[in-house]
Symmetry: C2
Subunit: 138 residues, 2 copies
Amino acid sequence: MDEPSIALLPIGWVESPLTHRDSAPKQGDEGAPEAWIALRPELVEGLAGIEPGDEVIVLTWLDRARRDVLRVHPRGDLARPEEGVFNTRSPDRPNPIGLHVVTILAIDGHRVQVRDLEALHGTPVLDLKPVLGPPGQR
Amino acid sequence: MDEPSIALLPIGWVESPLTHRDSAPKQGDEGAPEAWIALRPELVEGLAGIEPGDEVIVLTWLDRARRDVLRVHPRGDLARPEEGVFNTRSPDRPNPIGLHVVTILAIDGHRVQVRDLEALHGTPVLDLKPVLGPPGQR
């Protein structure tokens, strides 16, 4: 199909001690260090209402991933049979968008400190969303 | 910053009886009809391992949303004070990526039937990911 591609602009970037994929945990709750999200200053108004302690979903662009992979060993474990990438959280996938559930630690102007973000330093951030409560509390 | 934009290619498209934003529920578990995701046939291998009954996260590109909005009334309810878009699930946001938790009903070749998807007919699909179990069961 001749679909034009979709253009994303990062809303910010990750600042983290993690700099290499091999040293990053597979998921944020498996030992990720504290990190910052530096939002574009002109977007700071979009943070209104977010407070320390909130759980937030961070979408990132995993810019060091491969996009031509359709099957992987889950968690890179060669002992596990290959599965389709859409049945894994592998960063390698046609659109390498990372999904991270983090806890807000602090907000300092357009910079947001978070716990449990396993993305590498310099990773573009695409979106922030609240974790949804049950219907009736949204 | 002079960051080049990021190019996404849809992995597929939503087929749904929902055609207008005004008639769509705010969230998939608030009355969305059954829908299909028609994957690009060349990506079908990426589905390997997904089965009916699985809970899957669908990322979509909300192509009818506004990208120049930073504050909204949550759920479009004018009685609620405006908040930053990053503290809401509004489709209107700088990168209008939709996040939907759906249940797989059936898989028919490169087409996947799902429950609880409130995206409109024709919405581009960007990614599918499994809902993560607890550490140790991933």
